[in-house]
């Protein structure tokens, strides 16, 4: 590979550039990179010291994690961008969130056959905690939200839909536009919704309501109860309270995990 910057012509050009920069008082990029290298070493040392004293706290204290993340955001640094980052290597922040990501994916996959790929943040939280066992570190909903944000990079349709003061976590690439979201929010109160309710609350025509509900049915996010008294009810399994729905059996879970 031809290396730039080597050879008499290149040297002369560099000298000229250096002179020009010194004139204008700006610093050469190469010099800045060298400077950055030094600063990085210093930073790494300080972070190591910090880590040796406070690493445990990050693992154990979810409030501290929130503050830490906010601090990083204001600087413009993403401590979860890479497992190879200093933050991850020294403070162990990375492993905590990346492992959480794995657990989130697994829970969503196990329940997809039932809720179509939509689950409340509460239920996700509950199941992740259960899966982690009694002696694992505490996990807050803020932790889950951050882990999910990172999962988006892998393009599998991970997203969060605001519903009823909390969120629905979507783990499939089903296209959900504003109409679908609004119907989900409407269904949040009772776990189901009817065409009449949509027409009354949102003032939509019958066709628009039907179109949205059909889409939810097709995507497996809604179930149709056509035997309900009155008119058909569209139920959203994602919104079922856990007390009303039975748990996934191990056989079912095995079937569903790829």
């Amino acid at each position: 590979m031809h290396r730039r910057g080597v050879g008499a012509g290149a040297i002369a050009k560099k000298k000229l550039a250096e002179a020009k920069y010194k004139e204008r008082g700006t610093v050469l990029a190469e010099d800045q990179i060298a400077q950055m290298s030094k600063q990085l070493e210093t930073f790494k040392t300080h972070l190591e010291e910090f880590a040796s004293k406070h690493k445990q706290e990050i693992r154990k204290n979810s409030q501290f994690r929130v503050q830490f993340q906010e601090m990083c955001a204001t600087i413009g640094v993403d401590p979860l961008a890479s497992g190879k980052g200093f933050w991850s290597e020294m403070l162990g922040v990375g492993d905590f969130y990346y492992e959480l990501g794995v657990q989130i994916i697994e829970v969503c996959l196990a329940l997809k056959h039932r809720n179509g790929g939509l689950i409340t943040l509460d239920e996700l939280h509950h199941r992740v905690l259960k899966g982690r066992g009694k002696f694992a570190q505490d996990v807050s909903q803020d932790d889950l939200v951050r882990a999910i944000k990172k999962l988006k990079a892998m393009g599998n349709g991970f997203g969060m839909i605001p519903v009823g003061g909390s969120y629905l976590v979507q783990s499939v690439p089903a296209e959900l536009n504003m109409d679908h979201t609004v119907v989900l929010q409407l269904a949040d109160k009772k776990g189901y919704v009817t065409v009449s309710e949509i027409r009354d609350s949102l003032k939509w025509e019958r066709e628009r309501a039907s179109h949205v509900l059909d889409h939810l049915l097709k995507e497996g996010l809604a179930w149709l109860d056509s035997q309900a008294a009155g008119e058909p009810q569209y139920w959203l399994p994602a919104l079922f309270s856990e007390l009303l729905s039975r748990d996934v059996t191990p056989e079912e879970a095995n079937q569903m995990t790829p």
């Binding site: 600063q39 401590p79 890479s82 492992e99 990079a153 349709g157 499939v172 690439p173």
Partner: protein, 369 residues
Amino acid sequence: MDRFVWTNGLLEMNETLVIQQRGVRLYDGEEKAKLDVGVVLLSTHRLLWRDQKNHECCICIPLSQIIFFEEQAAGIGKSAKIVIHLHPAPENKEPGPYQHSKYSFIELSFKEHGQIEFYRRLTEEMTQKRWENTPVSQPIPTGPKAERTRAVGIVGIERKLEEKRKETDKNISEAKEMVELSKSIANKIKDKQGDITEDETIRFKSYLLSMGIANPVTRETHGSGTQYHIQLAKQLGDMLQAPLEERGGMMALTEVYCLVNRARGMELLSPEDLVNACKMFESLKLPLRLRVFDSGVMVVQLQSHSEEEMIASALDNVSDKGSLTAEEFAKLLGLSVLLAKERLLLAEKMGHLCRDDSVEGLRFYPNLF
């Protein structure tokens, strides 16, 4: 420094002067206070400070506000100091030189020495607490008596918190500097100012990676990859061969993420690490490819499983059974439903299949049109 209040400097009845020392500068936390050098006075009740040049400028703080104090030795170019940690200011505090302060401690810097004696006398007064026995005529705001017993335990905690805050602040400001520096470098690279070698660019990118700073510089050959990602890509190339074969040549990236991280146990990959590594498959001539479907689903697939093969197999299976849904196709091939669906969609896109979309599900038929 927001605990101090203005005062006329006159001592009250029952208040006695213990010691005074000139040449003292005050610090708000670690920063120099907006005051000049002055005289610090210790009485039985308060700590006072008066500007040496302007005697009208005089401030004080009750000794009961002090939680804890310690000496700080002199250094090169630095005078010896006494660091004093304070209780929060009471609600009804009189006005003083500072409205707010982010610090809960101050420092006395002894430019003309005298710190040893001052420290000794301060220790005495804080031990004896003579202000409690001889209340003065003018009410001096004091913390409740209960705070005194709490102070011992709080001292340790407050100190640790201060330490942590100081260290965190230090880390933050260092990190901020580097973010600024990296932006400047990135701009220069983009504008092609100066002669930056390929090696230097790669080094720069690895610095960005270490700091978790978003990388604005991309190259056609390596994308956003660094040495780390190149190595990772090669590891994945080895590790994923068998699992891919087992799963019909294709795995969703989320599956890969779980598989790889479960195997590693520690030093896990971030989602972005995985994506960046997979992006390098092609340029490294590895037998794997990262592929993004129209739906946004990302998969890793074996090079050997070409598109034509997949479409042909989809068509065969559908023709065989007359029609198939994604679930049925998935069961047939041992694929996940997600990927089965993507293959059927692909075959449809190429015109080999057509769909029957109803509320009962999405079913695919051979395209006879």
